[in-house]
């Protein structure tokens, strides 16, 4: 009984607590946005792990699919439910925004999954480094295409999503964005977990470990690759949609190769083929990014006091972009398999198995 429902219970409690804290404004808006980005990062790293970890391909254009999802769900949401200078008056009554919101996000995910075909189809014949180059190209194709569509703002970006978020909160007075982010994060992890733990989904690991043997032992490799790429891209699209609504603003520049690299770092930090690792590293990575924002000024003040650096120079928080990649180098040197290797939580703490079941 306890084993069967403990995960549900923990999720319900933590979700409920989060909503309560947000609702009562015990958590500042800043803390809330960090927590929400953490959810988005968890989806991103878990979904990229599906391709890079479980399937053993090297995709480094994940942000491209995120971009598709972000734009499609933003445009769709604003077109349907908000007054906007691009689309004019709202098509539907904003009262329905709350109920339609998950479908708007899912629509972004579906569009991103279709964009995933841009990588899936070449992957039939190409793999390894060559496929990696294709994924970078796809990332650029997507952001350049959007940059060149002037009607939706081009490189200046697109906004208006805050109005939708506000109208959701007008209907029922709850912090809806944290709720949706939480739900979609759990949904994504659950989806991936079920996929890779079925015999069907283990065909993906078979492709990773020996593609020739997989094909000979009756795994339809092209089909499995298509499903996996589309699923991964689709979840990235969902993450993108949430990202857009959290910020209330999207521009193609925020989905460039830098963003893709960030996701890659999370996957490799956590460990290939480990969902627990992906979650853990996404949480850690988000904390680290935000933590350096405070630590670096402290270090700066301290260095000034002990006259370590000249008064005319300040260590700016941008230095975190030097420190985090440096951390990656250290990680690759000393623990290339990441925090978790390809193990899950239950492989490290076998005794925990008695207390939870997640599928």
């Amino acid at each position: 009984m306890l084993q069967r429902y403990s995960v549900h219970l923990i999720l319900a409690l933590s979700g409920g607590l989060l909503v309560y804290l947000a609702d009562q404004e015990y958590l500042s808006l800043y803390t809330m946005s960090v927590l929400m980005f953490m959810g988005v990062n968890v989806i991103l790293s878990a979904s990229l792990n599906l391709v890079n970890g479980y399937m053993g391909e090297f995709s480094c254009g994940h942000a491209g699919f995120m971009c598709v999802g972000a734009y499609v769900s933003s445009l769709l949401g604003v077109w349907l439910f908000a007054k906007d200078k691009v689309f004019g008056a709202a098509l539907l009554n904003p009262e329905y925004a709350l109920y339609a919101f998950p479908f708007v996000i899912l629509a972004g995910g579906i569009a991103a999954a279709l964009a995933g075909l841009l990588v899936a189809v070449p992957s039939y014949k190409t793999r390894g480094d060559y496929l990696a180059i294709i994924t970078i190209a796809v990332n650029y194709i997507i952001i350049s295409a959007i940059e060149n569509i002037g009607a939706i703002g081009g490189s200046r970006g697109f906004m208006g999503m805050k109005r939708l978020v506000n109208s959701m909160e007008d209907i029922i007075e709850l912090p809806w964005m944290p709720i949706w982010v939480f739900i979609f994060t759990v949904f994504s992890i659950w989806l991936i977990r079920r996929y890779v733990s079925s015999t069907f989904g283990k065909g993906v690991s078979a492709i990773c470990q020996d593609e020739v043997a997989a094909e000979i032992m009756s795994v339809n490799t092209n089909k499995m690759k298509t499903i996996t790429f589309m699923l991964s891209a689709g979840l990235a699209g969902i993450a993108g949609g949430l990202f857009a609504y959290i910020l209330g603003y999207v521009n193609p520049g925020s989905f460039n190769i830098m963003k893709s690299t960030e996701v890659l770092v999370m996957v490799y930090l956590g460990g290939m083929g480990s969902l627990t690792g992906s979650i853990l590293s996404a949480v850690l990575f988000t904390f680290m990014l935000e933590g350096f924002r405070f630590i670096i000024p402290l270090v700066n003040d301290f260095a000034h006091q002990v006259h370590l650096i000249p008064d005319s120079y300040d260590i700016s928080p941008v230095w975190r972009w030097v420190l985090i990649p440096l951390l990656l180098i250290i990680l690759m040197q000393f623990r290339p398999e990441g925090i978790m290797g390809n193990r899950e939580l239950k492989d490290i703490f076998p005794r925990l198995k008695k207390f939870y079941r997640f599928k």
Binding site: L191, R194, Y195, S198, T199, F200, G201, K202, G203, S205, A206, Q209, D210, V212, A213, A214, E215, I216, M217, S218, V219, N220, T221, N222, I227, L231, N342, K359
Partner: protein, 265 residues
């Protein structure tokens, strides 16, 4: 006994007619013909580079033949992808063992049933009743197969940690897990010591009796071939140079020339 079966059963499991394969300017297989009857245990030998593995790769759908036809149970397979050919009932092992080393032994057996899982992505994610029933059956069948092969104690180990001989055995078990009509064994005795080879001979004979499967094998160990096979085909430079029962092949001058060179005779 196999001889009588050949006469009574008239539909061949595998029929190859005029199979030719070119790689650039090289002709790896030239006008190869064979007919395997149900229940046959037959061999394919030849010196290194004779084109034996190429024939297997063609049969399992890994290459598209340049010319000729391959029929599995009367169905032409030349255009099919390997996983489709496996679904028709052809399974194989590899010269250098190709197990999935980071999946448990049980999972190795399970995934080899991929073409007949009977459910897809949506069932897997919804964990429908149909999914649960099928997974149960798959797991049970895999466990039974492991037990038959006396591998059940390794069920949760990783293949890379098993002894070499056991890995060979597991690879054969995995191949059988896809319910083949025709089992292709590509040098199953390669790298085994003499005790393991004896064990292998017993294993192959036992599988042949138990699983109702036609076996076609490539092997360099002549003693294995002589003991097991009723029919042997010898190829060299892609050409068939001799065929017949082991005794006949052993004494064929063309075979000796191919293996030992001209000057011996």
């Amino acid at each position: 006994m196999a001889q009588t079966q050949v006469e009574t059963d008239n539909a061949p499991v595998l029929e190859i007619c005029g199979l030719t394969q070119h790689f650039g300017g090289l002709t790896a297989v030239n006008d190869f013909n064979v007919k395997l009857m149900p229940g046959e245990l037959s061999g394919l030998i030849g010196p290194n580079g004779a084109g034996k593995t190429t024939v297997f790769n063609l049969v399992s759908g890994f290459y598209q033949p340049s010319e000729g036809r391959i029929l599995i149970d009367g169905i032409p397979t030349a255009e099919l992808k390997p996983h489709k050919v496996t679904a028709l009932g052809v399974a194989r092992t590899f010269q250098n063992i190709r197990l999935w080393n980071d999946m448990t032994v049980l999972d190795n057996i399970r995934v080899a049933q991929h073409y007949r899982l009977g459910y897809g992505l949506f069932h897997a994610i919804a964990r429908s009743k149909h999914y649960q029933e099928r997974e149960k059956e798959i797991a049970q069948e895999a466990a039974e197969l492991l037990e038959v092969f006396d591998l059940q104690r390794y069920a949760n180990d990783f293949p890379k940690n098993l002894p070499y001989g056991t890995q060979r055995k597991l690879e054969i078990a995995r191949a059988l897990s896809s319910h083949p009509k025709l089992l292709l064994l590509d040098e199953p005795a390669a790298g085994l010591n003499s005790a393991d080879v004896k064990e292998l001979i017993r294993l192959v004979r036992w599988i042949h009796g138990k699983f109702d499967v036609t076996i076609w094998m490539i092997e360099h160990h002549m003693d294995v071939m002589m003991e097991l096979c009723t029919q042997i085909k010898v190829i060299d430079f892609g050409q068939t140079i001799a065929e017949g029962n082991p005794e006949k092949v052993r004494n064929d001058p063309a075979v000796m020339t191919a293996y030992l060179g001209d000057d011996v005779i």
